[in-house]
């Protein structure tokens, strides 16, 4: 029962859309049925009941939840996510300022993750049960088991001892006179403006948080790559190539690596939400000022519109990441290009 590849992609998109709808419904309902009056919170204890009532009306909080939801979705589709109660600015404006910082951090982490984990997984699989394997396994085990906050703080502790100092908070050195660029990605904007001092400083700043954020993923992807390599090594097709004298390195780096990269990619997609979640901790520790810091603050302040938007954006991150993973896997695996939709 084969399907046209386009149908498969559309079906996948449809299921993602459904996920977004359910996600928004859940968070929207949750944010509105739980105790705690957001209008009261926003105005503070000094406000009169009349003022609170007026704000409630203005926010539509006196309407049934279903009406509020439809209203919200209608506006959201036009790019209006409401006003943040805390910053008193449109949530979209806040997001536009904070999202690029997080995306930059996450992207650098993911690149770093794969650069370290895939070779490590391949090497440990090849030197299975040798010293190198044990070292690699301890490393990946540490990645999986260490609390990200502990690792981040340890990195800060070590950086403080770095001769000449190493920045441990923020995204950029003060006093560079940087006015911001079109994309909000410091590395990209710096390059576009040929401001290599900015790029250098941004790189210095992003190194530690990106490393801290990638640690859990490094552990996991190393393990998956290793076990996938080992599992595939036992397959008949390896025997075929061995029997005809194709060199071991070709079998490993050409045949096995491609086949064994499917599992880590899939895991990466599934675990992307955890990565975003970890960003909340990392951004807080490194005072990163990204969207996760914004989200954490919004949750603490019970800033309804902001919380809802943060959850939706996090969901969107997940979906975009998984679409990319899907495309990558279908490039790698010809069987996926023919397979029916999930």
């Amino acid at each position: 029962m084969r399907q046209h590849p386009l149908t498969a992609i559309l079906a996948r998109l449809g299921s993602f859309l459904l996920v977004m709808v359910v996600l928004s419904l859940m968070i929207f309902t949750l944010a509105r049925v739980v105790p705690g009056d957001p209008a009261r919170m926003a105005l503070g204890p000094a406000a009169t009941p009349e003022q609170v009532q007026a704000l409630r009306q203005q926010m539509g909080l006196d309407q049934p939840v279903a009406v509020q939801y439809l209203d919200y979705i209608g506006k959201a589709l036009h790019g209006d996510l409401g006003i943040s109660l805390v910053s008193q600015r449109p949530v979209t404006t806040d997001l536009a300022q904070t999202v690029p910082a997080t995306v930059e951090l996450v992207l650098v982490s993911v690149v770093f993750m794969f650069l370290v984990a895939i070779p490590l997984g391949v090497v440990t699989a090849h030197y299975r049960d040798h010293t190198l394997d044990h070292v690699g396994r301890i490393l990946s085990l540490t990645g999986v088991t260490i609390p990200s906050f502990l690792f981040a703080i340890t990195l800060q502790l070590l950086a403080a001892r770095f001769p000449g100092g190493w920045p441990i908070i923020g995204r950029l050195e003060h006093g560079l006179g940087w006015q911001g660029g079109p994309t909000g990605f410091l590395l990209l904007d710096g390059l576009l403006a040929a401001r290599f001092d900015v790029v250098g400083s941004a790189l210095q700043h992003i190194a530690l948080p990106a490393f801290a954020l990638s640690m859990a993923g490094i552990g996991q992807i190393t393990r998956i790559t290793r076990s996938s390599m080992i599992e595939n090594q036992r397959k008949d097709h390896v025997l075929t190539l061995q029997s005809f004298g194709v060199p071991e390195r070709v079998i490993i780096f050409r045949y096995l690596l491609k086949l064994s990269s499917i599992a880590p990619l899939t895991i990466m997609g599934l675990e992307f939400a955890s990565l975003i979640g970890n960003a909340f901790v990392i951004e807080m520790i490194f005072a990163w000022g990204g969207f996760a810091s914004y989200g954490l603050n919004a949750i603490l302040q019970k800033d309804l519109n902001a919380v809802t938007a943060v959850v939706l954006v996090a969901g969107l991150f997940f979906i975009v990441a998984n679409l990319i993973v899907d495309v990558l896997i279908s490039i790698i695996d010809p069987r996926m290009r023919r397979k029916e939709a999930l």
């Binding site: 996920v19 088991t145 260490i146 609390p147 901790v281």
Partner: protein, 293 residues
């Protein structure tokens, strides 16, 4: 090529128990993991008798002993109120283990039953479970837990509820895929043809074949729950002070960085110790049962 060790008819005489024990005892990771967990459980259970300053779990303040570095009388040093960090860390283990018991005690049985049902019956149960887990996957668990426990009230109980709400879906998803595979085996159809009812098939035919996967997954999950709980309490969503809790101890100590590093590193290392134990054991079990976790 399948694992030759499993297929060899000459191994037929060996009992399943012997084969599992053989693999387990030759797996240093599993043995070390077991020892770590044993020490953790003993410390946590007998904390009042094993710690030097059991009273320091309360609101005691001893300004003379503030911020003492680790030495013979205070192995992990003291905190801002002069309390013994070692004693507080050991009591903190109790909170972590309680969290594990609470979360997994609910989400594992619930997830298992729902996973079994969805895997065996298919149809709308299957669509419901896979739909739900798809949504849950898209939601950063930490964000969800923060939102829930904050919108309610930041307590351990609420944190536990929040984590549990998320966790069962992961478990259900795994059991679902395993039981769906098992449900297509000939022996399930044979049992149906022999007149077995759905309860018998779910719990007598399918469940025993999931035990290996469940135990590996549960062990590894225990590590994640501890990490997760520590992270929540690090962010300020944990147990109410002065009850010692590893995550919030790290958060407290962070204010005094980098000078009083032990206030961060010692409770942090305790978290690492426990999660390491669970992970090593989980890996060992995986080898022992010869399953993919």
């Amino acid at each position: 090529m399948a694992d030759i060790k499993m297929l060899d008819p000459a191994d037929r005489g060996l009992s399943a128990g012997y084969m599992m024990w053989y693999r387990f005892s030759r797996n240093p990771a599993a043995v070390i993991g077991t020892l770590i967990l044993l020490s953790v459980v003993i410390l946590a259970v007998f904390a009042p008798w094993l710690t030097p300053y059991p009273k320091h779990v309360g609101t005691i303040v001893d300004f003379k002993a503030r911020h003492l570095p680790p030495d013979a009388s205070h192995w992990f040093g003291t905190d801002k109120a002069g309390r013994d960090i070692f004693s507080r860390t050991v009591f903190g283990l109790r909170v972590s283990l309680l969290l594990v018991l609470g979360v997994l005690g609910i989400s594992v049985p619930v997830g298992t039953v729902l996973g079994l049902i969805a895997g065996y019956f298919g149809g709308w149960t299957e669509r419901l479970i896979s739909g739900l887990t798809n949504v849950m996957l898209a939601m950063p668990p930490l964000v969800m837990a923060l939102a829930v426990s904050n919108l309610l009230e930041p307590t351990l109980m609420n944190a536990m509820i929040a984590i549990t709400l998320l966790w069962w879906t992961w478990h259900a998803r795994l059991i679902y895929s395993v039981s769906k595979f098992i449900a297509s085996e000939d022996y399930i159809e044979a049992a149906r043809l022999a007149g077995a009812g759905p309860l018998h098939i779910l719990f007598r035919e399918i469940l025993p074949n999931c035990v290996a996967v469940i135990s590996v997954k549960t062990t590894l999950d225990a590590a994640f729950v501890i990490l997760f709980g520590a992270t929540l309490s690090f962010l300020g969503f944990g147990v109410k002070p002065p009850t010692p809790d590893l995550g919030s101890m790290v958060a407290d100590g962070r204010q005094f960085m980098p000078g009083f590093w032990w206030e961060v590193l010692c409770p942090g290392a305790a978290v690492l110790y426990v999660t390491l134990g669970f992970n090593l054991l989980g890996d060992g079990l995986r080898d022992m049962f010869d399953v993919e976790g």
